[in-house]
């Protein structure tokens, strides 16, 4: 920055330090959180702060794109996938590969030190030309970028379309579950149901005649036994069926048979 107006510089310094600290905190939080969702939120923090830093570096367009693409789209995609994989899946932070963590920390410290030290040395007295001229050349930051994209980097721009197509098709190939036959119509479903041995009518509702009408409580059949079928499948699969309290069952039977103590 060639101009010597100190308060502008101070302003930038404040922005920088606030955002830098937040960004590093976000990055560290991502690495340290046990839960994947927390990690995602932490890195979103980093990305927003980076957006601010872009703007501070005369890159307003990139700042916006960063918010829209990264924080908006990419992180949402991550969150979606986290939903699929299980939101509360958490990593145990105990390292299983022997020596991995120590070696990783040492190596990364080595590289980090080298990068920071090297960059610090190289850029100690660097020029800061600023982008005023470049931005102005075509009438603004966006125009300047557009000019470059459609001249110097036109081929790269065109070819990125290959990436996007690949990505879309790849996601479809891997994730889209195609069916080998058309889905059964309602008629077919109902025919299937009535031709089988299973229950033809409605399944019993859970909690009927029970003291609880919670969805996890099995229904009581007329003969006094309980019905597994009355509990929603996901709960059964998870083994979340509460044990049946037989005192309750007895009590209900007494009521239905009209006996009173």
């Amino acid at each position: 920055m060639t101009d010597t107006v100190t308060d502008v510089n101070t302003g930038e310094a404040v922005v920088f330090w606030v955002c830098a600290i937040l960004a590093v905190a976000g990055a560290a939080g991502m690495v340290l959180s046990r839960k994947a969702v927390h990690s995602a939120l932490w890195i979103a923090l980093t990305m927003i702060n980076l957006a601010v830093l872009y703007v501070a570096n005369s890159a307003p367009f990139l700042g916006m794109v960063q918010v829209i693409v990264y924080t908006g789209a990419v992180m949402m995609l991550f969150l979606f996938v986290l939903m699929i994989v299980g939101v509360d899946s958490s990593d145990s932070l105990i390292e299983t590969i022997k020596g991995q963590r120590l070696a990783a920390i040492l190596l990364v410290l080595g590289i980090g030190t080298m990068l920071v030290w090297g960059i610090g040395n190289a850029l100690a007295e660097t020029s800061d030309i600023g982008l005023e001229e470049a931005n102005a050349a075509y009438g603004g930051n966006v125009q300047g970028i557009a000019n470059l994209i459609f001249t110097k980097y036109l081929i790269a721009f065109e070819v990125t379309s290959a990436l996007l197509i690949t990505a879309a098709m790849g996601a479809m190939v891997l994730a889209h579950r195609e069916h080998w036959s058309p889905p059964p119509s309602q008629r077919e479903l109902s025919e299937q149901r009535f031709s089988g041995d299973g229950v033809k009518g409605n399944l019993p509702n859970p909690g009927v005649f029970a003291r609880h009408n919670a969805v996890g409580t099995p229904a009581l059949l007329p003969d006094g036994s309980t019905s597994e079928a009355s509990i929603p499948e996901p709960l059964r699969a998870r083994g979340d069926v509460p044990p049946i309290d037989h005192t309750d069952v007895d009590e209900v039977q007494q009521i239905t048979e009209g006996r009173t103590e």
Binding site: S89, T160, L164
Partner: protein, 99 residues
């Protein structure tokens, strides 16, 4: 303020990203760490763009965002596929190929 601070910040973020790749086992977090590394590179490009006084760096950063978006889609698709067969997103578990 010396703009090289931005580049140093980017180096720090880059290193943290690399560390994340090395120590986390959840494939999604590993992948987030890679994204962090790309973001760090972007920050460096943007800062250098300003220091060099041309917009090329910003354009590169823009392209990186596009590339990263595509990469994320493919990567997450692969992770989801693996998750569906293995019921796990840990990258240590697919470990049949070795030695």
């Amino acid at each position: 303020m010396n703009p090289s601070n931005y580049v140093m910040l980017s180096a720090v973020l880059f290193s943290i990203g690399a560390l994340g790749v090395l120590v986390r086992r959840n494939a999604i977090i590993v992948f987030m760490s890679v994204e962090l590394m790309l973001n760090a590179a972007n920050l460096a490009f943007v800062a250098f763009s300003r220091m060099n006084g041309n917009l090329d760096g910003q354009v590169v950063a823009f392209f990186v965002m596009v590339v990263a978006a595509a990469e994320v889609v493919v990567g997450l698709a692969i992770i989801v596929t693996i998750f569906r067969t293995r019921r796990s997103a840990s990258i240590d578990e697919p470990n049949l190929l070795k030695y």
